[in-house]
């Protein structure tokens, strides 16, 4: 089976990145504990380092590690700032809005009429399942202490989260809103995978896959990239093995979901009738509405990742806008030139691609860089969806891989290329001094993310395939998942 071969090939390719990682991993055990146990005041990472450069807010983009922030708080108790806190609540609402109903509409419009509710149910299922999970242990495994790869159970049941304290996320916003802000990221990431496997996977299997995947991929990555002791958290962890940067989730969100989506859709197989039947979007109108909501919500995602209503947030706001629009324009123009017509789906896809690509870079790059990244986003993701998919023949139903996988990977690397300490002093010598060799660190982070996502997804997917099974019966698939799996139709008959 060519599909099987493709997965093997991919795993091989993925593993070729592994050696340096393995090395890196070996070295950490020795170093990482040190961070946790000792962490002397003068080594407190981001919090102090960035302070002189940007007096009002210690961390420029990511959480001050809990253990680091605590002593600092004692010395000079950081007060909840109403403005920063207001922005963080707004941002959190905006990121939830991206999934419900943004992504549900974007994806829902692209499937066939008979499957629209199944996609929406999967988005709702993500929100409703992951939220209590986050309370139970998800947040804790992602952000509470732990080693370089995963947190511990210190904040299980959100124990120890005090709304009147700050420092878990940044020194100026409530720890409580930080928890929910991060939750909204944990909700949308697996929901993105839904796009690749749409129209042909059992609801029970989707939910089970996501449940396991959160432990196997999401929590570790949230911890590794944004945790104070994380393996590749350049901005906060002086001892990080990979000193990479990721402003709002290029690796954590888009790459993990994009690459997992590819693998899962390969293992799952193509939709019945793929390449033979019409599988046109049943409502480009819904898709366009979802795009608008995604764009608007993304301001919470990117500018909210500044964890303050400050200059860095504004930088993220500006670069997000410029990249999204530019990529939308480029994609539509590419269609116009190469296919004769600029389509609404082209504009929408380009906009989302631009948003994906700028995500890891949003608070690290300058305005003009974001325009250039937008051009890349539009052009490369267009090519991935229009040519690469055709050439390789996998059935990534709604192009999760083409947009989030390819775009996320490209964005992570370009972030290394365009990152600018003048834009974000945390990168510079006054901060964490991350500039030297940054591109290589980004590539390492990209490699680790691909390997991990591909391998973990393959294992989970095969495990479910041989137990619960992945696909519904042919009859169910042909008559549509909405009726068969949810007992409802999207529209009155």
């Amino acid at each position: 089976m060519s599909m099987k071969k493709f997965v093997l090939l991919l795993s091989a390719l993925a593993l070729s990145f592994a050696p340096p990682m393995a090395l890196a991993q070996e070295t950490t055990p020795a170093e990482t504990p040190a961070t946790e146990t000792a962490a002397p005041a003068e080594e407190t990472p981001a919090a102090d380092a960035a302070a002189p450069a940007e007096a009002e807010k210690p961390t420029a983009e990511a959480p001050a590690p809990a253990e680091a922030a605590a002593p600092a708080a004692e010395a000079a108790p950081a007060a909840l700032d109403s403005g920063h806190n207001a922005w963080q609540m707004t941002s959190t609402a905006l990121v939830l809005f991206m999934t419900l109903p943004g992504l549900a509409l974007f994806y829902g419009g692209l499937v066939r009429r008979k499957n629209v509710l199944s996609v929406m149910a999967q988005c709702l299922g993500c929100a409703c399942m992951i939220t209590p999970l986050w309370w139970l242990c998800g947040y804790s495994l992602s952000f509470s202490g732990g080693n370089a790869f995963i947190g511990d159970m210190g904040n299980a049941l959100l124990k120890g989260i005090d709304v009147n304290k700050t420092g878990a996320g940044s020194a100026l916003i409530s720890d409580g809103i930080w928890v929910i802000f991060q939750l909204t990221f944990a909700i949308i990431t697996p929901a993105l995978i839904v796009g690749a496997i749409a129209e042909r996977m059992k609801f029970s299997s989707v939910m089970l896959f996501i449940l396991v995947w959160m432990f196997a991929v999401y929590f570790p990555f949230a911890h590794m990239v944004w945790g104070g002791t994380g393996f590749m958290c350049g901005p906060l962890n002086k001892l990080a093995s990979i000193k990479a940067i990721d402003f709002a989730g290029g690796t954590v969100v888009h790459m993990t979901s994009g690459w997992s989506a590819l693998v899962l859709c390969l293992i799952l197989g193509k939709r019945i009738g793929f390449g033979r039947e019409q599988m046109t979007p049943h409502s480009m109108v819904l898709c366009m509405v979802g795009t608008g909501m995604l764009w608007v919500g993304w301001y919470g995602f990117n500018a909210g990742s500044a964890l303050a209503a400050d200059g860095i947030a504004v930088t993220a706001f500006v670069t997000t806008t410029l990249a999204a629009a530019t990529a939308g324009l480029v994609w539509a123009l590419a269609e116009w030139v190469l296919r004769g017509k600029p389509s609404v789906l082209g504009f929408c896809s380009g906009i989302v691609a631009g948003l994906v690509v700028i995500t890891p870079a949003a608070g690290f790059v300058g305005f003009t860089s974001s325009i250039i990244m937008g051009v890349f986003a539009g052009a490369v993701c267009f090519a991935a969806c229009a040519y690469l998919k055709k050439a390789l023949g996998y059935d990534d139903a709604l192009d999760t891989f083409g947009v989030h996988g390819v775009g996320g990977t490209m964005g992570a690397i370009l972030t290394g290329v365009f990152a600018d300490p003048k834009v974000n002093p945390l990168l510079g010598e006054g901060g964490m001094n991350l500039m030297p060799g940054l591109v290589m660190e980004q590539i390492k982070a990209v490699g680790l993310t691909i390997v991990w996502s591909v391998v973990a997804t393959a294992i989970i997917a095969y495990a479910i395939k041989f137990t619960l099974g992945l696909r519904p019966t042919q009859e169910v698939e042909q008559s549509g998942l909405d009726l068969a799996e949810h007992g409802e139709g999207g529209y009155e008959h």
């Binding site: 019409q278 599988m279 046109t280 017509k341 789906l345 082209g346 229009a386 040519y387 055709k390």
Partner: protein, 112 residues
């Protein structure tokens, strides 16, 4: 009685309806259908996937008429629906044995 059944281009519906009215046919039933024939459909491209939509939206008009008025209906339709371009459609005539008006239970010619 006969049923005169015409498959026409949707944007000609208004014209055909008026033409039928002019020659005295007030009642008719219209259905949205998809037509396959010599006229080619169009191609849609969604992110690189090409789909040939091979059917075309058409409208089917059904008028049940007294046998002696078939010609009148036919001519009215053909004249109003013609654009001269491929895909203008067809008119079919078939027998109808009886008709009833539900409201009054009137029969046959009186019913239509």
């Amino acid at each position: 009685m006969k049923k005169v059944e015409a498959i026409i281009k949707p944007f000609k519906l208004e014209d055909v309806k008026e033409a039928l009215h002019e020659v005295g046919f007030e009642g008719m039933t219209v259905t949205e259908v998809k037509g396959f024939g010599r006229q080619k459909g169009h191609t849609e491209i969604y992110r690189g996937s090409e789909y040939t939509v091979d059917f075309l939206p058409k409208v089917k008009i059904e008028v049940v008429v007294a046998t002696e008025r078939v010609e009148a209906a036919l001519n009215a339709i053909v004249k109003a629906a013609k654009t001269g371009k491929i895909g203008d459609g067809k008119v079919f005539v078939s027998p109808v044995e009886s008709a009833v008006r539900i409201r009054t239970s009137e029969k046959d010619e009186a019913a239509i």
